[in-house]
Structures are given as C-alpha cells and as structure tokens.
C-alpha cells in the first residue's frame, strides 16, 4: 500500500486538490466549490481522485469559511462582556483612519453592535492586582439577557486580563452553567497580551466566527469520513501550520486569512529542496499579487495582520502583503494624462478585452498577448481563445494614442508599471526590514506569476527567478508541507537587568504544559513534538520588539545576557544601528509548539528528449530593451527535458501558466523540474 497525503483548498470558485504519494507521485484535481455547503465540493474532489481513500493517511484542508464570515459580516450573533466603562473599545478602535485624507470614507461596522456590548463591574490593574472584585450576580443577570436575545457566542475581554486571568476564567465558568451550548471566548485564553484594542478585536472575531466554523468542521469531518478517508484531518491556519478540527473550533479565528499561507509554504518546501535559503514568493492571480519573504529557510511571521481595516488579529501569521496587480489589472490614464496600471481589475467578467466578453479596457493580459508573450490559441491549454485584435484596439484607443506611444511601447508600459508596483511592494517586505533583495531568489507562481517574475526579479537585481513545476497548483501543494503549530503567549513586562526570573519560568512552564497537552490530544507522539521558547525584547519604552529564542531551561543571568546580545545583533541588522548601553525589557514570553507531520518528498524528474522536440512555434515578440520585435521560440513545458538551457527570448507554455524568459536571461531546468531563470550581470 502506498501512502498518500491529500490537500484540499476551498476557494470561493474552485476547490483545488493535490495528492502526493510517499514515492513523490503527484495528482492534481479541481472541482467547482459548492457554497454554502463547501464540504460537498471537498467530497466531490476526493471522489474524483484516482486514489483509494483508504490509502490517505493525512488529509489537509484549507478553508475560507472564517474569512468570509468575517468580511461579509455573516458570523454568529455575538455578545461582548467587557469591564465597566470599556464596552466601546471595539468601536473606538485606535482613532486612525484607513485613508488619511478622504472625507467621504466610512469606517467598517463593528462586529458587535453597541446594544449587544455589555459591561461587568470588575477591575484589575496593570500589575494584576484586583481593584474591584467581579460582580458575579451581574454576570448571571447578563447571561439571562444573552440567553433571551439568542446569542450563539460570547466574547469576554476585561482590562488587564492578561495580567490576572481569574475574573475572565470565573465568567467562563458561570457562562458554562448559565448558557450551555453557547460558544465562549475569553481574551486571556485567546490572546493574553496588551493592549485592549487588539485583544478585544481578536477575541471578538474568534467568538464571531467560532459557531460558523464549528458547524462547518462537523460537516467536513462527516464528509471526509463518508468518503472513506481514515487518516487524520488537519486544518490550515494563517500561521502556516495546521490544527485538528477540534482545535480549529476553539481557535477559530486562526483559520481566517489562511488562504495565502499555502503558497508560501510551497515556496518554503521547494526552496528547501533545491537549496535556496532566501526567497521572496510572488503569487499572482487575476486581481492581486501576494508577496512574502522566506529568510534562512523560514517564512517571516507577523502579529499585525488585518483582514480588513480596523480589525487587527494578533495571532502570529505568515506575513503576506497583497497588492492590486494581476492578469486582469487595467491600464488607464488619469485626468492629467499620467498612466497607471491597477489596482482596478477587469476580473473574470468582463475580463480582459481579448476575452471577447464585452470588456474593452486594456489589461496586463491584453498587453502580454499583443506583445507575443501569450499566444491566442494556447491560453489555458487552448480552452479560452484570445482575440489579439481586441487587445490591440483597446490598448491603442485607451492607452497608446492618448500617451502618444506605439501600441507596443504602450503595452510594454502597462506591464512595466505593474512590474514596478510589485517591485516596490517587495522592497517594502525586504529593504524596509533590513533585508537586501539582491540576496534573494524570486519564486513566481499562481496563474500569472511566471509571466512577470523574470522582469520583477531583474528590476530588483535579485539572484534569479524560480518557477515551480505546477505554478497554478502551488498554493494547494504547500498545505501538504504544514506541520501542526500552536502559539502561546503571556505578557511579562520586566527589565532585563532586574528580570522577574521566577515569573518567567512559571509562565514558560505553564505554556509548555498547555502545548504538550494540546499536541498530545491531537495525536502527536512526544518524539514528534518540538517546543520553542521565545522572549520578546525591546528597548525600554520603545514599541517595536524583536523575538529572541532562548534555551528550554530555567532562565539565568547568563542566558539572559546572551539573549540581550542576540537582540543587539538582530537590532543592528534590521535598523542599521544599535544602542548597547540602553536598557532592555521583555514584553512577552512565547511558546511555539510544533507537531511534526511526515512530509511528502519531491521526486527528481529525469526527463529525456530534445529541445527541438519541445518546440511548439516561433514568432516575433516585443522586448523594448532588446530593440523591439525579436524572434522568440515557444516551448511546451511538458515535453522539455531536464538539464537543458534555454536562452531568452523564449516563452514556455503549460496548461495552467506561461513563463516568459526575456532577452539576456537564461532558463535552466533543475533536477526537480523547477525553472531557474538567471540574468547576465550586464543585463542588470
């Protein structure tokens, strides 16, 4: 029996499936998603798969159920219990606005309306000392109100509850008695860190999506069982790890914004396999480009993710930024005659002008078609016939003529602006963090990524562009490489020179115990469990913290001074200066708990054949830098042998994507089937 790992990734339109055997065989599937009963689409995808469900030992799943519930405000009817005087924390936000200068802008509605936000007499101070004891009678009275109003979920967030959890825990007990079956999230369990704004939004969001995700998890587990899968079910979260369905129900909000994480994990796995420690991943679809960095083999995490403005979630998440640049991004000219590309997109309907679906605005797809980088009869394996005449007309009328440019220069201009926008976004993710893009490879995937990657990499003088074997299925592939991961945090603000060692040890021990219990309950053996202790350090009174890993042992002055030294080194790297004499303090302690799953392995593709055998055509395509229209060869990726080199200009076509190799660039196929595009030094 061959063991298979299967990942299903449910999006709004399609459910992607990818299966990888322990021998490295890959099978890919795609079925329409079936909202609102997404589990049916998953079941359909599994049924279509040419693998015995009984051979599936790990079943991974990525879902957008929580993200959708959050963004479309279709979560559960939720109540908030807050400290007396603080029920408006959720609505007051941080006083900022998304657009500094737009008077017509409106902030989004809070997840819980004001009349469902209730106040409880109680108060704890910053040191965890109780100033007012909990009014339990009032809690019971409010529980009665909640019951009558028919809330499905309650979020509890008290001021300074991270410093003393007793009031929140007591409220949880009371609610369990008074409101059996109601989903309860308390802030000291969900995100025990200051300040109150982020802790409240995170806790409320968790309660808001909890019942919705809980129902979906039950239906999904039943569907997977019905399909005959006996292996473990693991759910993807935004931190790039997985959880069992039971944990996912408790930490529901962690599954929100998990969508882009898969692609980054795939980039991590591929980069690891072919020995590239530093990679920027660029996942381009029709409307947006997702950008993330992998440094020393690990994706960068952030605790500042915001699925929408005014809704910060403080769980560690893979740091992905999205910008409005993709295959459908529109080239347009403003009232002062200045050209732009995106962020508006023609979307799937009407789509680019060349789709002949009524769209007449020029998109990057029209530009690529006109310039000969896409061919009319080879798009999506020939499924969609593209109309070059319509692309030309729209570029001419809406972009070239008003700018006084030739159609070719205008088309290339649409792409160049899009490339530069992506390059600027990558600069933000690298240069702004003290990283040098020249030390990184760019891995481009998603349907449109391989069209843009070489040009973007060249613009940033990056080492090379890497195009994975199945660019369109990369996101689903990545999920197969996720470990189980849980993150725990406790707030401890204490000066490094007079550190509260006993409290730190107690917190670390407490979190590790929680972590072990959770991973064991998820079925992990101790030998597959890896725990890390992390200290968030900062200069006293400064806001930005750096995370320093410390040994899993009682902290001592020696290990503390070593952590301080590491902080200085890391600080200097990121900020280019350091204040060694300035005192430090801790902000939080963290435990990262990893449950290692068995990873599928990529197989080397030794493919024979000749370059000529893969040649599918030759025509002129336009590269301004190379002097204009130049003879360009077109190849069929499926027929390309490994180990060969292709000099640009060239275009490689495959079912779900098209790779452009510009003049002066060289493409090689490395043994695992990935393209490596490198550049002549003087071409930069």
């Amino acid at each position: 029996m061959v063991k298979w790992s299967v990942a299903t990734d449910t999006g709004g339109t399609f459910t992607d499936l990818i299966a990888l055997s322990e021998n490295g065989d890959i099978k890919v599937g795609k079925t329409p998603s079936t909202p609102p009963d997404f589990e049916e689409g998953v079941l359909n995808a599994v049924n279509q798969l040419d693998v015995d469900p009984g051979d599936v030992h790990l079943f991974y799943h990525g879902t957008t159920v929580s993200t959708n519930a959050l963004l479309t405000r279709t979560g559960s009817k939720t109540a908030l219990l807050s400290t007396k005087g603080f029920r408006d924390v959720l609505e007051v936000r941080d006083g900022s606005r998304e657009e500094m200068y737009d008077i017509t802008w409106n902030p989004p509605e809070p997840l819980i309306p004001r009349y469902d936000r209730m106040e409880v007499p109680e108060r704890v101070n910053y040191a965890g000392e109780i100033l007012n004891s909990l009014d339990e009678g009032e809690v019971r009275r409010l529980a009665g109100l909640i019951k009558k109003r028919g809330h499905e979920a309650v979020a509890v967030c008290f001021i300074h509850a991270y410093a003393n959890t007793s009031h929140e825990r007591r409220v949880k007990e009371i609610l369990a008695e008074e409101l059996p079956g109601v989903y309860v999230s308390i802030s000291s369990e969900i995100m025990p860190e200051p300040p109150e704004y982020e802790r409240t939004t995170t806790t409320v969001a968790n309660a808001y999506v909890g019942p919705v995700l809980s129902r979906y998890m039950s239906k999904l587990s039943a569907a997977v069982q019905e399909a005959g899968v006996k292996g473990a079910v693991l759910i993807m979260h935004s931190g790039g790890g997985t959880m069992t369905p039971e944990s996912a129900v408790k930490y529901a909000i962690r599954t929100a914004t998990s969508g882009p994480a898969g692609g980054v994990l795939a980039a991590e796995a591929i980069a690891g396999t072919i020995g590239r420690p530093n990679v920027v991943s660029l996942d381009i679809g029709g409307t947006s480009a997702d950008i993330a960095t992998i440094e020393n083999g690990k994706p960068r995490l952030t605790d500042e993710q915001q699925p929408e403005w005014g809704l910060p979630l403080r769980f560690p998440a893979i740091d992905v930024v999205a910008i409005g640049a993709g295959g459908g991004s529109i080239g347009w000219i403003d009232a002062a005659g200045v050209p732009h590309t995106g962020p508006q997109s023609a979307g799937a309907r009407p789509g680019p002008a060349c789709y002949n679906q009524g769209g007449d605005l020029p998109t990057t797809t029209d530009a690529n078609l006109y310039l000969g980088r896409l061919r009319p009869d080879h798009f999506l394996g020939g499924r969609i016939k593209l109309r070059k005449d319509l692309a030309e007309q729209s570029i001419l009328k809406r972009f070239a003529q008003p700018l006084g440019l030739s159609v070719a220069d205008a088309a290339e201009g649409i792409l160049r602006i899009a490339n530069e926008n992506m390059a600027n976004a990558i600069r933000k993710q690298t240069v702004h963090r003290g990283l040098d893009p020249r030390e990184f490879s760019l891995m481009g995937f998603g349907g449109a990524g391989p069209l843009f990657s070489a040009a973007v990499a060249q613009e940033l003088q990056m080492k090379e562009a890497i195009i994975p074997a199945n660019p369109g299925a990369t996101s689903a592939l990545g999920i197969l490489f996720a470990d189980a991961r849980h993150d725990f945090v406790r707030s401890l603000i204490s000066p490094a020179t007079d550190f509260d060692y006993p409290q730190a040890d107690a917190y670390f021990a407490e979190m590790e115990a929680q972590a072990l219990e959770l991973l064991r309950s998820e079925g992990f053996r101790d030998s597959d469990i890896e725990l890390k202790r992390i200290l968030d350090l900062r200069y006293i009174s400064q806001v930005r913290t750096l995370q320093i890993e410390v040994p899993r042992a009682r902290l001592t002055e020696t290990s503390m001074s070593q952590a301080v030294e590491e902080f200085h080194t890391a600080y200097e790297k990121e900020f280019h200066y350091v204040l060694r004499e300035f005192p430090l303090e801790s902000r939080s302690l963290r435990v990262v708990a990893i449950g290692k799953t068995e990873k599928p392995k990529f197989r080397k593709h030794e493919k024979n054949g000749t370059l000529e055998g893969a040649l599918s055509g030759e025509q002129d395509s336009y590269f301004g830098a190379a002097g204009g229209w130049v003879k360009t060869k077109y190849y069929d990726r499926d027929k390309l042998p490994t180990g060969i080199k292709i000099e640009g200009p060239a275009v490689i076509e495959q079912f779900d994507s098209t790779t452009v190799v510009p003049p002066g660039a060289t493409l090689e196929i490395e043994p695992f089937g990935n393209f490596i595009i490198s550049f002549e030094k003087d071409a930069q």
């Binding site: 005087g85 408006d88 006083g95 005659g337 220069d409 900020f575």
Partner: protein, 596 residues
C-alpha cells in the same frame, strides 16, 4: 477611472518625457518616502513618533519645493516642509551647503509650526552638484522651557515656550556637531528619548538620500530633475481641473477661537476665510481674521498654509501630495494676524486653536463650493500633558504623560452621518490605549466610550464625542492643556445642529470641583481625584426633523441618543417595548405630529 479621449489630451508630463517612466518614478519617490517613515518609526524613541505617527517626510528640489511627501504622515507638519527647507537654504546660504552636511531646525518663524516639531534637512549631492533635499520632521516630547512637554498656555512669547533651534549644522561635511547635540540635550527634560528621536530623524533622512541616489544612478540626473518638476505640474494640473469645474464666485466662512488665554478680555478671536474661485485658481483670503494674540494660539504662515492644504487634499483625495497644491492658490494674510505669527509671538497651541479654525473655515467654504465632498465641523484637538513623579515599585521617576483623544467628525451631505471616533483631520495621530498608559504612568482610566447625545443633530448627524474619565493615582501633579471649543460649539450646516465641544473638569460633583479648562497652564491636582475629560462630537448636516426615523431608532437602541432627545430634537417618538430583547417602537402618529 477617467476615459481617455482621442483628442489631444491634457498632459502634465514634461515635453519629450516617457510617460511610463514618469509614472514609475512617481511611485518610486512615494516608495522612498515610505521607507523614510518606516526607518523613523523604527529608530525613534518617543511614542509620539512610533505610536502616534506625529511626523512627516518629504523630498524637495533645490529651490525647497516639495516634490513628493508622505500621504500617511501628519498632515499639519507635511504642508510646512517647503517652508522649512527654504528656511535652511536662506539660513545657511545656498553657497555654504556642502556635501555631507545635515541641518537641524525648529524655528517657527522660519517655516516651522511649534517648537516641538524638529526638522532634519539633508542636501543630496550628485556628481558634485546639489540636486535635492530630503527632510524628516517629528514632534519631540519635550524641547525644554518652563512647562514639561513645552505646551505652555501662559507663554506670551517664544521665550516662555522652549528652545529655538534656527537652521544649524548637526553634521558638517560628515562631522557630527557634538557641541550642538550636547546643548540640545542639556535643555530638554527627557534627553535619552530626544537623543533617540534625533538619531531616528537623521537615519530617516539618510534612507531617503540613499533611495534617491539609487534612482539617480539608474535614470540619470537630467531625468530625475525633470521628473521632480513634473510631479508638481502633475498635481497642479489635476487640482486646476477640479477648481475650473467650480463657478467663479466668492464664499465665506467665519469661526472663532474661544479666547486669548493671555488677554484681559475673554472675547473670542475671529478666524475668517473668503475663498474666491477665479478660473482655475483659488484665493484663500484670511484678512478678516483677528490680530496676533498675546497667548500661544497663533499660527505661523507655514502652518496656516499647511492646514489649508490638508483640507484641500481631503476634498480631492486622489491628487498626489506635493507643492503643486500650493501653486493653485494665493494665500492672503495681513501682517498683524493670528494666522501669521511674527517672532517672538507664542505658537505652541496653534494646532489645537488657530489651525483647527482654518480647517473649520475651509470646510465651511467647501460646504458651499463642493457640498458633496465636505463635512460639518469635526472634533477639535486637545493636547493634555501631565507632569509628576511616579513612585510605584519603589521608583521615583519624573514623567510626562501626553493625552489626546479622537472624537466625532461632521455630518456630510452625500456620504451620510459623520464618522465616530476619528482623530482631528490636521493632526491625524493615533491614540494611546489605557493598558499601555496605566503601565507606564500612574494613571487609572475609569473607562472610555461614546457620549450619549453628544452628536450634532441633523438629517445626517455628526459623529459622537468621547468620554474619557481618569485619575492620577500617585502624588501631586501638574496638568497643562492646549485646546479649544470649550465655549463655541462644532457647527452644523443646512439646518444641522452644532455638537458640544471639549471639557476637562476636576473632581466633578464634589466640593473640590473645578473647571481645569482645555487651555490651561500649571493646574495642580491631588492623587485619586476623578478628572472628567470629554472630546466633542461633530456638527450635524441637514434638518434633524428629516432624519430617517429608523436611523434615530437605531441610535436610541445603541444608547447613543436618549428617547428625550429623539423626541425633542429629531421629532421621533420612540417607546421602549422590551429592554431585554431591545425592542423599540416608533409611534408613527406622534412622530408625524412632532414633525409637522
């Protein structure tokens, strides 16, 4: 998106310049400025910079004109940058500006705002020639003077405010001016923090310099210089087109600062604006405004221009931010004017007083010019600083705690109700959270929340104000405030009602009760006493009797509007049916009668 026509199109792009390169460079400049902000936030030490974003970064040409500035930066500082860079050019002398120099500058009368806003200006040289300046400015938590935080409401001249640094070398041809740094640090209350902020400013300017150099080496000097001029024409073209759409006319608005804190009379100070639209230009004439005040409520010309531009940009938000804005209007200011402070008139409270009235008058005028894009009077900034000793945990540390809040914005004709809980437009900083303040300072916040009945009523009501009661828990302390709108309310328009303004009351309801006032120097308080702090709401737009009864009901259900106010002001009779299930009913018959 504008549909391009096939006729000879308008273009702001310089003759012969590749339009694609123009757009690419425009974005590259924005990206360079973003990076300057990122570096500043990371390196600077004060929370005013890192948390409240009270800073502004820009790139200027050799004449000091700003060709690009940060769209997320503090609006009120942003519009003064060209004045600041020009002051450096004048003060140092163009011929004395050398490669490797870095200048420091906070002089309000030479292009600044108030003394806390300190600029670093770095000349960018290429092939031996000066080709641009990069500038970063941030609000320092203290620059000395008699009052912690340097907000002295009793100052009658800048000598009573803080340290003035006219344009000087902090670095001369690569050599750090340690003497000047020592002099500055010797004059401020929190030298470690200021040392960090100073380094942050310099690192930020260096980041801008290095980005600009990358662009110069890639595109060449001629292209970059031409593009920099082009950016301003671009903005000017877009703004001129918008102005040209308006009929030629003159509109007026008048608002008032509550009082001059250092004058004998309690009379309000007039801020009057007449905007004349003339073809594609505007004349912003502030001649009707009152004379220079004795107390620190005056605005410098730089701040007056900057506050005006902030609102123009908010009315036309898609236009790129640079000195192209200034090219589209003439500013008319008398010599003796509260909006044209002359050395050494005090200015520390300009942001909360005169600048906010400029914002208000601009909105009042644009309510008449472009009603669909303007709003009624928004909440007015208040700066509070508390100075005392923190002895918690056996320490004995002096502290200066800043407080500022957000409040309601004004109702709008097209876009509906005013937004709730927004920082003032020209200030635009973020607020600090109770859990952070309580840890760092001996303060206890009793809560904060939207204030019932604090909105300016209207068909589209204003946003609600905020109530933020607090106590200082340790030792005696001193409070200094700079604010306004204690007497005069935030105005409504088109039949909309005004909203109550700001209040700061000590020990309310006790024998010790005292109005601290939002414009006060050196109020001494006792530990543990409640201090009531209200930040006002926004004015309402349109007749409240025309407000949708369902919208009034929603506000009543949320506890934001009382049943009495619903009846008396909105003419909607609402009865509570069931408090548990939050069921209310609109009495249609009584409502019709009330609204007749």
């Amino acid at each position: 998106m504008n549909q391009a026509s096939t006729e000879k199109p308008v273009t702001a792009i310089p003759e012969g310049f590749n339009p694609i390169t123009f757009e690419v460079l425009s974005n590259a400049f924005s990206s360079a400025i973003d990076e300057m902000g990122v570096v500043l936030e990371k390196v600077a030490f004060s929370t005013v910079t890192s948390e409240a974003h009270d800073y502004s970064c820009a790139i200027a040409n050799v004449k000091g004109e700003v060709v690009s500035r940060g769209v997320g930066d503090l609006p009120l500082i942003g519009g003064t940058i060209s004045f600041r860079v020009k002051a450096v050019i004048d003060g140092i002398g163009l011929e004395n500006i050398k490669d490797g120099d870095v200048y420091i500058h906070n002089d309000p009368y030479m292009g600044g705002t108030h003394l806390q806003d300190v600029s670093i200006v770095l000349p960018v040289f290429w092939e031996g020639k000066l080709i641009a300046f990069v500038q970063t400015c941030s609000h320092w938590p203290d620059v000395g003077g008699p009052v912690p935080g340097s907000f002295n409401s009793e100052a009658t001249s800048s000598h009573g405010e803080a340290l003035i640094i006219p344009p000087m070398h902090i670095i001369r041809e690569g050599e750090w001016n340690a003497q000047l740094e020592r002099m500055i640090l010797r004059n401020v209350r929190v030298p470690e923090t200021i040392a960090g902020d100073l380094r942050g400013l310099i690192e930020s300017a260096r980041a801008g310099d290095s980005q600009l150099r990358k662009l110069l080496s890639k595109y060449g000097k001629a292209t970059i210089m031409q593009a920099m001029d082009g950016f301003m024409s671009y903005t000017h073209t877009l703004l001129s087109q918008e102005i040209e759409k308006l009929p030629d006319q003159t509109v007026s608005w008048t608002d008032y600062i509550d009082r001059d804190p250092c004058a004998e009379s309690d009379d309000p100070i007039t801020v009057g604006l007449d905007i004349t639209v003339k073809g594609d230009r505007l004349i912003l004439d502030y001649s009707r405004s009152g004379p220079q005040a004795n107390g620190p409520v005056n605005c410098t010309i730089a701040a007056t221009s900057s506050a005006s531009v902030a609102v123009l940009k908010a009315i036309f938000p898609t236009i790129p931010l640079n000195d192209g804005f200034e090219r589209a209007f003439d500013l008319v200011l008398p010599d003796d004017c509260v909006l044209n402070a002359q050395y050494p008139a005090p200015v520390s409270g300009h942001a909360a007083n005169s600048a906010e009235k400029i914002v208000s008058c601009m909105h009042g005028c644009f309510m008449q010019l472009t009603p669909e894009r303007a709003m009624c009077a928004p909440t007015n900034l208040v700066n509070i600083s508390v100075f005392g000793q923190d002895t918690r945990g056996g320490r004995c540390d002096d502290y200066v705690m800043y407080l500022w809040l957000a409040g309601g914005w004004g109702g709008r004709s097209n876009a509906g109700d005013g937004s709730t809980y927004m920082m003032p437009l020209a200030a635009g900083t973020r607020l600090l959270f109770a859990e952070m303040l309580e840890r760092v300072y001996p303060v206890l916040v009793d809560g904060y929340g939207l204030m019932t009945d604090s909105e300016g009523a209207g068909k589209h009501r204003g946003g609600f104000g905020l109530h933020w009661p607090f106590r200082i828990t340790e030792n005696n302390y001193t409070i200094n405030t700079q604010g306004d709108r204690e007497v005069i309310e935030n105005w409504g328009y088109a039949g909309g009602k005004p909203a109550i303004g700001n209040r700061l009351i000590y020990a309310p309801g006790t024998d010790a009760e005292e109005n601290i006032s939002v414009m006060r120097a050196n109020f001494k308080g006792k530990p543990g006493q409640l201090i009531d702090y209200w930040q006002g709401g926004g004015g309402g737009w349109g007749n409240p009797l025309e407000r949708e009864p369902e919208s009034v009901l929603a506000d009543v259900r949320d506890g934001l509007v009382s049943i009495e106010r619903a009846r008396d002001v909105y003419g909607v009779e609402i009865e509570l049916i069931d408090n548990v299930s939050q069921i209310y009913n609109i009495d249609q018959a009584k409502t019709s009668a009330l609204r007749e």
